[in-house]
């Protein structure tokens, strides 16, 4: 079963071109998207989430073409943490998470029912935010803020969660924390997760599937242990390095070029 399937996806935005991207994201797995800065990872996620209109090709979510979804319907199927959040309004953490219930209500209704409260509790619980739920979201640290935004996405109770660089601005302890929480969600609820990562070690350790993007095209895909090779590092990042695995973690040892 595939959660997301793109077929010959194309997009031109200024000088950047996404040229014929075809990927499949398996259901119930964690998929990592890696690639250099500016390679089109965020663009790809935005296309999948319906935030950008493709210039060609098709996207299928849970067996149904993206174009066939109403916005609210899609928001019950797929949630996303965008890369750069805008400044948050003056809200408590719980109020922020509660916005995740919007797709289940009409555009004007504001009452939360028992099911909503349960989903919000669950989302905050999973993100370890219960004790912060009455704090103003603006006063959170970077890591807490990231988790609050993920809690909002979780409260949407979707089968698919897209995360654009959720760990980039976190220290290693918070990175590992978040990765553990996410893999717990994936294991316990079969949540399909697609995340943009820069850390290949974490991609290999936590993700069952890896897609590498370069200059708007997919250049590698498959199980991380099989994909991450010296050849891969040369092709995607243009670096010469040796790769050795220690348990699930790849050790990447750059071969330094002589100084000119």
């Amino acid at each position: 079963m595939t959660a997301i399937e793109t077929n010959e996806l194309r997009l031109t935005a200024g000088v950047f071109r996404l040229s014929g991207v075809s990927i499949t994201v398996p259901v119930g797995q964690i998929t990592a998207i890696v690639g250099p800065n500016g390679s089109g990872k965020s663009t790809l996620l935005k296309l999948i989430a319906g935030l950008l209109a493709p210039g060609g090709g098709s996207i299928v979510i849970h067996g149904k073409p993206l174009a066939g979804y109403k916005r609210a319907e899609l928001a019950r199927e797929l949630s996303m943490l965008p890369q750069s959040g805008e400044t948050l309004p003056e809200l408590t953490v719980r109020e922020l998470a509660a916005y995740g219930r919007s797709p289940y209500h009409g555009p004007f209704s504001r009452r939360l029912n028992a099911e909503d409260e349960q989903a919000i509790d669950w989302a905050l619980e999973r993100m370890n935010l219960r004790r912060h739920e009455d704090r103003m979201a603006r006063t959170l640290s970077g890591g807490e803020r990231q988790r609050a935004l993920i809690a909002m996405a979780l409260a949407q109770k979707t089968g698919i969660l897209l995360l654009d660089e959720p760990t980039t601005y976190l220290d290693i302890a918070h990175q590992l924390d978040l990765m553990r929480v996410l893999s717990g969600l994936n294991r316990e609820y079969g949540l399909t997760i697609v995340m943009v990562l820069h850390d290949l070690q974490q991609a290999a350790a936590f993700c069952g599937h890896l897609i590498a993007v370069k200059e708007g095209a997919v250049v590698a895909r498959g199980a991380p242990q099989a994909v991450i090779t010296p050849h891969f590092l040369k092709a995607v990042y243009d670096i010469d390095a040796k790769v050795r695995f220690d348990e699930a973690y790849p050790l990447i040892i750059p071969l330094l070029r002589p100084e000119l």
Binding site: R71, A72, A75, E86, P89, T92, S102, P107, R110, R135
Partner: protein, 332 residues
């Protein structure tokens, strides 16, 4: 501001608004070229009377105070909504030309169809909406930057003003009806005028209840609102129409009264935060109170001259606008 402080501030604001509004209304009823004591107001309102004071009260001051309340409430609510959808703290129906659009349409109606004065509010609504769409289209690029919106507003304002002047030059015989209206004031407004605006103002103010949720979601940013299943473009259009309806209702009777929609929501936001559940109603109350007080001062302190309230509000509002512009100069 933490949650407890916020809750306390909201409660205080909600509890304070009705008495504040009542106090301002009474100030407006008692004060003027003749002052009418509270006791007498009570007697006239309860038992009726045909004294001279009763006539002043019932035929002049009461409708004027009510018009002032509605005008202020509509302008403040309109400003609060515009600031939300344009994601811009400087949006105000007066500054960005929404009022001018309504004003031009109203001038056309006044000059060309003087016998159909009940058409003023719908004409003002259409004009205000058209101007809002124009400014929105000119300045929107994934968010309307303060600078762009002000520039587009200035340009649209100038254009609309020129057209307005042109119409008045060509129909100089009929501008008598237009001039007092243009300067933005409530001089000589009566029950008839209240009747014009009342249905539109009440409709607009009632619809703000529906604006709360979309406005709050838009405050998360377009991208987040879309991810939460919102039809952002449609909602923004509907909110724009509502802001135009509110501004149009105010403009159709009070003329070009500026800065209420800027100053009031801003002050309210500072006090109780930006949640539209509270921001919209509290702004409406505070806007009504402000216009009534300002109008009362404008008509009584400069005796024998009656200053149009728009002039007084501009004297307070323009410096405030400049202050905001300066304070936010780091915003693109």
């Amino acid at each position: 501001m933490n949650k407890a402080q916020r809750t306390r501030k909201r409660k205080i604001a909600a509890a304070l608004m009705p008495p504040l509004l009542a106090a301002c209304a009474l100030f407006g009823l008692t004060t003027g070229s003749v002052s009418i004591p509270l006791r007498e107001i009570g007697a006239v309102l309860l038992h009726g009377s045909s004294s001279e004071h009763a006539v002043i009260l019932l035929e002049v001051r009461l409708p004027r105070v009510l018009i002032g309340l509605l005008t202020g409430a509509c302008l403040a609510a309109s400003g609060a909504i515009l600031q939300g959808i344009m994601r811009n703290p400087l949006a105000d129906p007066g500054i960005i030309g929404v009022s001018a659009g309504g004003g031009l349409a109203a001038v056309i109606a006044l000059v060309l169809l003087p016998q159909w004065s009940y058409l003023l509010p719908p004409a003002a609504f259409v004009g205000a909406f058209a101007a809002a769409l124009l400014i929105y289209g000119l300045s929107w690029d994934r968010g309307a930057s303060p600078v762009k919106i002000v520039l587009a507003g200035v340009a649209v304002n100038a254009l609309l003003g020129a057209v307005m002047n042109g119409i008045m030059v060509f129909h100089s015989d009929r501008i008598q009806a237009v001039i007092p209206w243009l300067s933005g004031g409530l001089n000589g407004r009566s029950w008839k005028h209240l009747g014009f605006m009342l249905p539109y103002a009440l409709l607009g103010l009632a619809l703000t209840a529906l604006a709360v949720k979309p406005a709050n979601l838009l405050a998360l940013g377009d991208q987040s609102a879309k991810l939460l299943g919102q039809r952002v473009e449609l909602q923004r259009m509907l909110l724009l129409a509502l802001a135009a309806l509110l501004a149009g209702a105010a403009v159709s009777v009070a003329g070009l009264v500026g800065f209420v929609g800027l100053v009031v929501p801003h002050a309210v936001r500072l006090l109780i935060g930006e949640d539209y559940r509270y921001l919209l109603p509290v702004s409406a109350f505070a806007g009504g109170a402000l216009v009534v007080v300002a109008d009362t001062i404008a008509r009584s302190w400069f005796d024998p001259v009656e200053l149009p309230v728009g002039i007084l509000l501009a004297c307070v509002g323009a410096p405030f606008f400049l202050y905001l512009l300066k304070k936010r100069s780091h915003w693109r």
